[in-house]
């Protein structure tokens, strides 16, 4: 079986401007939603109490909400979680009341309403922890960016490092934009997913850069633009198959992983889709605009690419 029967190199770079414009608009929209709507941060970041309760029958959300509100809590979020029998209740931090008291108070009120209710999980986070998480997350992000730029500069060329990071940071922002637009809950595991996506989609750019380097060595007469087109075309099959495989895994998490992995899988899905787009269309184009040249990558001209090498023939 062979899915990709491409006869000629596809001139991707001809459309670089349009593709990057699309990319930029998406990015701008993501920033816009991030600014106007903000992220719906989980209790791990904001502090507060989360309770998960399970009923025997379908839970009456409105009634639960009424009961909890009756205890004098403001800004309570009550919603279904996973199935219609599971309910998640989110309470803000309250001065002078311990989390233990809070959750017991709510549970006893719910028990009074329906004795069948069963506490599955509680989670309480003090307000001071959240700030540290944000700090730790930003530090991790910074380290990833720095580490990757340095590694790519060392293995390839600084222009590639910068191009890869710009392309992939834009993925991260777009994922965050989705979370802001749909107000999906942004939790610690989503953060882990987002940072993993950063590493993962840089990996995608690296595969293409690797091909660009190789093509520069092999085909000396091709222009930079043609080399990039060739590199993208020849990795196309691998790109699609790999990502489809990874996505199969992620979808499996999405469907079987239950509510805890739901948003994690969602973040990865968006990350993978935009990862392909940005690596293929954005990263290479940025590297091109940064003026990447044959001389940057091919240090020793003769010995590297032997024209008599039988394996150095036509490559699609």
């Amino acid at each position: 079986m062979e899915f990709f029967r491409i006869k000629k190199d596809i001139p991707f770079m001809k459309y670089a401007l349009v593709l990057n414009a699309i990319s930029f608009i998406t990015f701008a929209l993501a920033v816009f939603f991030l600014v106007t709507r903000g992220l719906h941060l989980s209790v791990e970041f904001t502090g507060g109490t989360v309770m998960e309760v399970a009923y025997q029958q379908t839970a009456d959300i409105a009634k639960v909400r009424e009961t909890v509100a009756g205890l004098g809590y403001k800004d309570v979020i009550v919603q279904n979680f996973g199935t219609s029998r599971d309910v998640m209740i989110r309470l803000p931090v309250q001065q002078g009341v311990t989390s233990a008291q809070q959750s017991e108070q709510v549970l006893s009120a719910l028990k009074a309403q329906d004795a069948e209710v069963n506490l599955r999980r509680t989670e309480f986070v003090g307000p001071q922890v959240g700030d540290e998480l944000v700090h730790g997350g930003l530090m991790a992000l910074g380290m990833v960016v720095l580490g990757i730029v340095i590694y790519l500069a060392f293995r390839f060329e600084w222009k590639f490092g910068v191009a890869a990071i710009i392309a992939n940071l834009h993925d991260v922002v777009i994922i965050l934009g989705f979370f802001a637009f749909f107000q999906w809950e942004f939790s610690l595991s989503v953060l882990a997913g987002v940072l993993a996506v950063l590493g993962y989609s840089v990996n995608e750019s690296v595969v293409i850069f690797d091909r660009i380097r190789e093509a520069f060595r092999r085909f000396r007469k091709l222009s930079t633009r043609e080399v990039i087109d060739h590199a993208i075309t020849s990795t196309m099959s691998r790109t699609i198959i790999t990502h489809a495989s990874t996505e199969a895994m992620v979808l499996s998490m999405f469907f079987f992983g239950g509510p805890s992995l739901h948003y994690f899988a969602l973040a990865l899905t968006i990350g993978i889709l935009f990862g392909i787009y940005s690596s293929v269309f954005v990263a290479a184009a940025i590297a091109m605009w940064l003026g990447v040249k044959r001389e940057d990558l091919v240090k020793t001209s003769r010995s590297e690419g032997d024209p008599n090498d039988p394996n150095a023939g036509a490559v699609v």
Binding site: Y151, L152, R218, K221, F255, G257, G258, V316
Partner: protein
């Protein structure tokens, strides 16, 4: 060209063998068990205890599947939870004659069902995180400022005594924050006081300033290194106290760890009664013994008819009655080694019996000698609020460090007070800043969900790979299987904690690991398409794909390491598996799959074709030629 020397195959076989051995314990599941461990530092759990447990079980007719001494605990494994509960009662009866003063903790637990020979090579199942097995997690913040303030307060008291002993007259000693201010009349006393502090209080440093009223002021502050020591000790003592408190809960494998400079993490797996756990842990209490001020002013203040005199503080006792106590602290919870409820031999009144350490006994003896007939108060501080637990009258000098508190108590009150005193000796108050409770059914669900995600995801990938790449797809799938095997084996070896994000990382690692095989297979196809001989195509495919695989895995690893360095909690669990998964994937996807390919094709000298699926060659090759021709000119 596609042959491995014997030693490379040997490495593969050894890696596989080790992988299988260490993965194995995870498949045996867990059985109900009873765990006996020591409740006191002086009590050792050894072979003799094992023997006693064995005899007790035999006498009761409850036969354990396995009974063994593991480290500092004896574990007995049973086939059903019913037998487990029965055995717990039997063992408790045999080992603990006095339930008020247990020497051993008998707790219900789950232990691996894996056979003894696996345990002998230290192959144990992965340690499951709380989100997979259920339980409670707390993060406690230790109030270091309070520890310092307390230290300053006790140093101020010591200073007062020492100055009096040396006959150095001062115009008042007061604690200002973490500093101690001493007012002195003239330069001579100033020098004397200063020398005294330098000689006898190595923890303090002094600074001199003049007061507006012509007095000299000596400001003593705690040195930075002493500050650090105070904080370290406070943390250590709090951890010890938490251990004692948790022992009362009878949890099988509690985790109590320091995190950072001022935090403690407590994890109680399998705890169902979370309310009680919170109650016992959340009781962030510190204990102080102080004298009650019985002057006329203080009496008036006690009745609410005057202000609280200078140097005193007002606290309420349990009945809501005010007690005016001096600020000076005589003893703290540090000096209290034990507190037990009991009965007075003569009056049959319930009592609380305290045991003090050597330093505490000495101080207590002096204080009681000087204050016969007066009252002392035991004040319990919870979250900054003090409450007088009891304020007994001193009847006579008490030496030897054994103190009996009696009067106006019921048996229940005596029990409560003893428990509070015993568990209450925290060096600094603590506050719960993070807390998770995961019900056991949710834990089981999470395991199932995680396993399903991995299994179905892998099945989908395997099916696709086998159809698309034929035999090479089969090799890739086998390599993926080996990857899972090695990943689980390494996690088991490290005894890393597996959490739900960890399982997610495992699934993701597999999804990413297949990338290496896709790269290799695509490369081999490309070489074939370009007209290379099959053997050469395989060799070139692996070789050329390697640098790409290395680069892409290193970048992914950079992200993983950053997560490991800066992440906490679930992020860290994710990062550990993520990083190990990348390393094992490089081994399995490149080295192991190459081994399989070499084994299959390596010996065939005149190989005509390889089963890597259809390799499509464009009929009209002019397009490629034009490009390639330009390149190869």
């Amino acid at each position: 060209m596609n042959r491995f020397p014997i030693w490379k195959y040997a490495i593969l076989v050894v890696a596989l063998l080790v992988g299988v051995l260490y993965t194995l314990p995870n498949f045996f599941g867990e059985a109900p068990a009873v765990q006996v461990s020591s409740a006191k530092a002086t009590v050792k759990v050894d072979a003799a205890v094992e023997q006693r447990v064995r005899e007790a079980l035999q006498a009761a007719g409850v036969v354990p599947d396995l009974l063994q001494l593991e480290g500092t605990s004896v574990r007995a494994r049973f086939d059903t939870p019913d037998n487990q509960l029965k055995a717990k009662d039997v063992i408790e009866k045999a080992l603990i004659p006095d339930p008020q003063d247990p020497a051993y903790i008998v707790a219900l637990n789950l232990v691996s069902r894996s056979p003894a020979w696996l345990s002998a090579i230290h192959a144990a199942p992965m340690y499951l995180g709380l989100d997979l097995r259920g339980g409670v997690h707390f993060m406690l913040q230790v109030d270091m400022q309070a520890a310092l303030t307390k230290k300053a307060e006790s140093l101020a008291g010591d200073l007062r005594t020492t100055l009096r002993d040396k006959n150095i007259r001062h115009g008042g000693i007061a604690r200002e924050g973490d500093n101690i201010d001493i007012r002195l009349r003239d330069a001579a006393t100033l020098t004397a006081a200063r020398n005294l502090i330098t000689d006898q209080f190595p923890e303090l440093q002094v600074a001199v300033s003049s007061e507006p009223d012509g007095m000299q002021r000596l400001r003593a502050s705690i040195k930075p290194e002493a500050t650090r020591k105070v904080q370290e000790q406070a943390l250590k003592q709090n951890i010890t106290t938490l251990h004692n408190r948790i022992n009362e809960l009878g949890v099988a494998e509690p985790v109590i760890q320091q995190q950072g400079l001022d935090r403690i993490i407590v994890q109680l797996p399998g705890v169902q009664d979370t309310a009680k756990a919170k109650d016992i842990l959340g009781r962030t209490a510190t204990l102080e013994v102080r004298m009650v001020d019985e002057g006329t002013e203080a009496r008036a203040a006690e009745l609410g008819r005057g202000p609280v005199p200078f140097g005193d503080e007002k606290y309420l006792d349990r009945n809501g009655q005010a007690v005016i106590v001096k600020k000076q602290v005589i003893l703290t919870g540090e000096n209290l080694t034990d507190a037990q409820p009991g009965f007075d031999g003569q009056t049959q009144e319930p009592t609380v019996n305290l045991t003090l350490d050597a330093k505490g006994s000495r101080i207590f003896k002096d204080i009681t000698r000087e204050n016969v007939g007066k009252r002392m108060a035991i004040v319990l501080f919870e979250k900054g609020k003090g409450e007088v637990v009891t304020a007994p009258v001193i009847r006579s000098e008490i030496g030897g460090g054994r103190v009996q508190i009696s009067g106006r108590m019921t048996t229940v009150e005596a029990n409560d007070t003893a428990l509070l005193l015993r568990a209450g000796s925290l060096a600094a108050p603590m506050e719960i800043i993070e807390e998770f409770t995961i019900g056991p059914s949710l834990g089981a669900d999470n395991i199932q969900r995680g396993v399903h995600s991995v299994v179905w995801g892998m099945a989908a990938i395997a099916a696709f790979m086998c159809v698309y790449y034929m035999l090479f797809g089969v090799f890739s799938t086998l390599a993926l299987g080996v990857n899972v095997l090695l990943l689980v084996a390494i996690l088991s070896m490290l005894q890393a904690t597996l959490t739900l994000p960890g399982i997610a990382a495992m699934a993701l690692a597999l999804g990413v690991a297949i990338d290496s095989n896709v790269l290799i297979n695509e490369r081999i196809r490309e070489e074939l398409r370009a007209g290379a001989a099959p053997q050469a195509a395989i060799a070139a495919g692996y070789e050329r794909a390697w640098s790409t695989i290395l680069d892409s895995n290193v970048t992914t690893l950079i992200a993983g390491l950053a997560l490991l360095a800066f992440g906490t909690g679930p992020v860290r669990g994710f990062a550990v598996v993520h990083c190990i998964g990348i390393l094992t994937s490089m081994f399995s996807a490149v080295f192991f799959s190459r081994g399989l390919v070499n084994l299959w094709y390596g010996r065939k000298k005149k190989l005509k074709s390889v089963a890597i699926g259809q390799v499509w060659k464009p009929e009209d090759t002019s397009g490629i030629r034009s490009v390639a021709a330009r390149g190869d000119q």
